[in-house]
Amino acid sequence: MKIEVIDYKGKKVMEVSGEIDMHASPSLRKELMSLVSKKTTPLLVDLKGVSYIDSSGIATFVEGLKGMMAFGGKLKLASIPAGVMEIFNFSKLDKVFEIYGDLDDAVNS
């Protein structure tokens, strides 16, 4: 898994690619929670390059969202590939997260 944090049209974007599994999730958490603790809002997460996510990855995003909600911040997920989206749908989290078709939709929301 690779993580890059960039600025895109004035917004902070976390670009994640590769497999988010139990080995990768601790690094994802570290990066995500560091931005949450700095109250970076809105934080956009671009998941276009993610080929696989397991329950540890989903749980990490849940933790991130919980942290954001604690101070009224926004965590927006964008460009989720179909296979990854299936897991979000199944866990009913598609109703909880703000999910956008692509990064520009997330920026303009």
């Binding site: 749980a59 849940v62 299936e86």
Partner: protein, 261 residues
């Protein structure tokens, strides 16, 4: 067939007694395979070989094309982390809450923070219909709930393979059907390779994509459910029609047997 597991010429003994008699078969990836057979046919023994708990006398068991028979314990443990197993008695630790039972493999095998682990455990418990039970101890649960909790723990590490040993044993028909539905859901959503050992026919017809039937330590059938239904093999027909075995002894043999001659 995309083979997830390939068993070749497997022979195993308990003492002098040959239990599995040079059996060969394959298990397809991402499907539910039921290993079917009467009591004592060797199916639970076979399951213990597939998960590397027993070493065979001869033969090979290839999991993702790697032979687990010749593997050392470290390599085998790596493979086992990709396997979830629901044992007949659920094998929960009675001194621990469900939260701690399900969290155990995650705490043992990952570097995840406990806050992440707790969310994952709640997700798994919800998946098996046990939301809100994380503070309960196994002794406070019914048999069906224990099975589901055992399944939540088997799935803790998001395994690629899920093995069930007689999942319906000891459950009423409604609870057993609920567990079958859960098995179907896991295959559909997570594309897991699921192997179920059972002799419960209603379960077989509900969950199986592929069936392997054992009889007296030999594979007498491997194929789809439709192929099983139309099989002309008399042993299979007897099993599917739930007909008892014919008497194997003549009265004279029986007398000799019990008289000890």
């Amino acid at each position: 067939m995309d083979k997830a597991i390939d068993v070749k010429d497997l022979v195993t003994h308990y003492g002098e007694r040959e239990i599995l008699k040079k059996i060969s078969f394959s298990i397809p990836r991402g499907k539910t395979t039921v290993i079917l057979g009467g009591s004592g046919c060797g199916k639970s023994t076979l399951l213990k070989h597939l998960i590397g708990l027993l070493k065979p006398t001869r033969g090979n068991i290839l999991i993702n094309r790697k032979d687990i028979v010749s593997m050392n314990e470290d390599a085998l443990n790596d493979i086992r982390k990709r396997m979830g197993i629901l044992f007949q008695g659920a094998a929960l630790l009675n001194s621990m809450t469900l939260m701690d039972n399900v969290a155990l493999p995650l705490r043992e095998h990952t570097e995840l923070e406990d806050s992440t682990i707790q969310i994952m455990v709640r997700m798994k418990l919800d998946l098996v219909g046990l939301s809100g039970f994380e503070g309960f101890y196994p002794s406070q649960l019914s048999g069906g709930m224990k099975k589901r909790a055992g399944l939540a723990r088997a799935m803790a590490l998001d395994p690629e393979f899920l093995f069930f040993d007689e999942p319906s044993a000891g459950l009423d028909p409604v609870t057993a059907a609920g567990l079958d539905e859960l098995i179907l859901k896991l295959r559909n959503v997570f594309k897991m390779t699921i192997v179920v050992v059972t002799h419960e026919l209603p379960s077989v017809f509900m969950i199986a994509d592929y069936v392997i039937m054992l009889d007296l330590g030999e594979v007498i059938f491997s194929g789809t459910l439709d192929e099983l239904r139309v099989s002309g093999n008399p042993r299979i027909k007897m099993f599917l029609d739930r007909r008892p075995e014919a008497e194997t002894y003549s009265p004279e043999d029986y007398f000799r047997f019990i008289a000890g001659d």
